[in-house]
Symmetry: C2
Subunit: 342 residues, 2 copies
DNA sequence: CTGAAAGCGCTTACAG
DNA sequence: CTGAAAGCGCTTACAG
């Protein structure tokens, strides 16, 4: 009545468990007589046998699972990445365990311990904060690691990231072509690699006004409320802006709220560009111009990269590899030429 | 250099592995002399020891993991539920493995096999299709199961669901109070318990027009595109409608597109109500009136229910329990009194 | 080509 | 109060 084990299959097929093991393993089935394999397969099928991957993992010292650490699954940015990872791992029958940190360092340490306890064969880290990798390096127990949507503090660790500078350049150039000269930036947290890279790219690319401080307002978190507040501060400090580039869509949504509450129309009074092309931003009022980054592909690539390391023999580990995926500017209705009267 | 095992800790502390096991297990630590426990703890700490949960699971026949099956993680409806589940399980140190089916029966069977192979102690099923549970009942190997956001075909299986009739009644009554008399319904797939319950509730509650067929259009899936098409069909069939209740927000978003493309204004020409209160629907044009269902709480309750079954001894399993969570009508700008001239 | 044996890292009766 | 032994369900050298 309980789950059948290999011993049950062996009894049913009239062979030793080791023979069952060989018959059911692709790599070793060829060692056996075809009719033996057939006999075992048949017995396994008739009993509804499913190998116990825990037992296998204990013996082979490979759990065939990998851990993925993200800030928050309810942030719509992450699910497509997770799906990409899953699909990449699915090819090789790996399972992913996803853990949320809510950007809480203590919780991050806890989930990391939990994943390691589950004997994950590798780790995908999409948490955004810099530096914590170094701190917990030994806690990671030498596991293969690939970063997703963030860079490491050095390049000894593999990473799959969007090409942030190109994205910001696309946004700024689009606004400049429309005729904007006074463009501001709502920057993301500067302890994240994306927040920093985007702010730097903005400063390098946006038109400068001589003498005045750069129209950049920094937030502590990537969130709507943070966008509301930063946008208000930016408008107070730089009254003449005709366009804003937000470091991500959630910040842009916050900007939208502030602009609306101040009676400023988008795009007539202020143009607005987001980053990420989150679900439903095409249905906002107005539909948001933003940068699409291929989240699913990012997850897939990261999963593939990790698999390559996990499956390589210990003595021929591939070196760290970094991949940059190109963003695409999606022009919608939140950007337009500045109104002359403004 | 490799991960320390219990044997390493035993050596370090100068005791037997069984003593280490007892010292590190809350339930058995009291059997030992306090200073022995302290000695072991200290050794474990100094080595950075993490118990191997695979080995433990093999021995105790409890993996301390549960499987959760959902249609699609990128549907924003599910992540909050998953977080609720995780938080419920976290209390007892359980881990959840999430698997997506994309509503593909073949994929569903595959992920179920995979989860069972991972020796999950229980299963949370949030896939929407009816009947497939009976079909795979034996495949489930007698595992404890709790359904989320769907009912079973009979009530022998526990379930946590929104109170669909109450939700639809709130929506219909809201529209009737505004003065609407010709209200249509975009129904979800009729092979899902939510789709069916909502359509039935609508038919029972909405004002009837004598002689004419009920203004209900059914979709095959819960998706934006399905909403676009069903809305078009409904408008063609029932030209005089002044309000539409959609079976979920994605269908409502599809309606919004169709209405807009036909030059019908929302809410001036047609009022629209969704279901679920997905993220960002408050930012649509216009902000969507919808029914909020407590997704996080639904997940938490389901996780708790499952834990109760998983942790109960085999001979005193609690009977199946069903929970209905009450939806709340969130009135935004997509509903208004019908325009007299319409 | 197949079987018998050892062992992965734990837990838990059983002794003492 | 603690140790020695058996065993969870697999895999894989080692024999034959």
């Amino acid at each position: 009545m309980s789950k059948p084990t290999m011993a049950d299959v062996a009894r049913e097929a009239g062979v030793d468990v080791s023979t069952v093991s060989r018959a059911l393993n692709e790599r070793t089935a060829s060692l056996l007589r075809p009719e033996t394999v057939e006999k075992v397969m048949e017995a396994a099928r008739s009993l509804g046998y499913r190998p116990n991957v825990l037992a296998r993992g204990l013996r082979t010292r490979r759990s065939h699972t990998i851990g993925m650490v993200i800030p928050d699954l309810t942030n719509p940015f992450f699910p497509p990445i997770v799906r990409g990872v899953e699909d990449a791992l699915d090819d090789e029958q790996y399972t992913v365990i996803v853990a949320n940190t809510d950007n809480d360092p203590e919780r991050e340490a806890r989930v990391l311990r939990s994943l390691i306890g589950h004997q994950v064969d590798g780790l995908l880290l999409a948490t955004s904060h810099l530096d914590d990798l170094g701190a917990s390096a030994d806690a990671l127990a030498g596991l293969p690691v690939v970063l997703v949507n963030r860079r490491g503090s050095d390049d000894r660790v593999s990473a799959v990231v969007p090409n942030d500078p190109v994205g910001i350049e696309l946004a700024v150039d689009h606004l400049v072509e429309l005729g904007h000269t006074r463009i501001g930036h709502i920057a993301g947290p500067q302890d994240t690699s994306t927040g920093r890279a985007r702010a730097e790219a903005f400063l390098a690319r946006a038109p400068r006004e001589r003498g005045s401080p750069p129209p950049v307002e920094t937030t502590d978190v990537y969130g709507t409320q943070a966008g509301v507040e930063a946008c208000a501060a930016l408008l107070d400090r730089c009254p003449g802006l005709t366009a804003i580039v937000a470091a991500n869509d959630q910040l842009a949504v916050g900007c939208l709220r502030t602009l609306r509450s101040r009676g400023l129309r988008v795009p007539e009074d202020v143009s607005l560009v987001g980053f990420n092309d989150m679900p439903m931003v095409d249905l906002l009022d107005p539909p948001l111009t933003t940068l699409r980054i291929p989240q699913y592909e990012m997850g897939r690539a990261a999963g593939r990269l990790l698999l390559d390391r996990v499956q390589a023999p210990r003595d021929e580990q591939p070196g760290p590899r970094s991949l940059e995926l190109e963003p695409e500017l999606i022009v919608r209705a939140s950007t337009a030429a500045p109104t002359p009267s403004a």
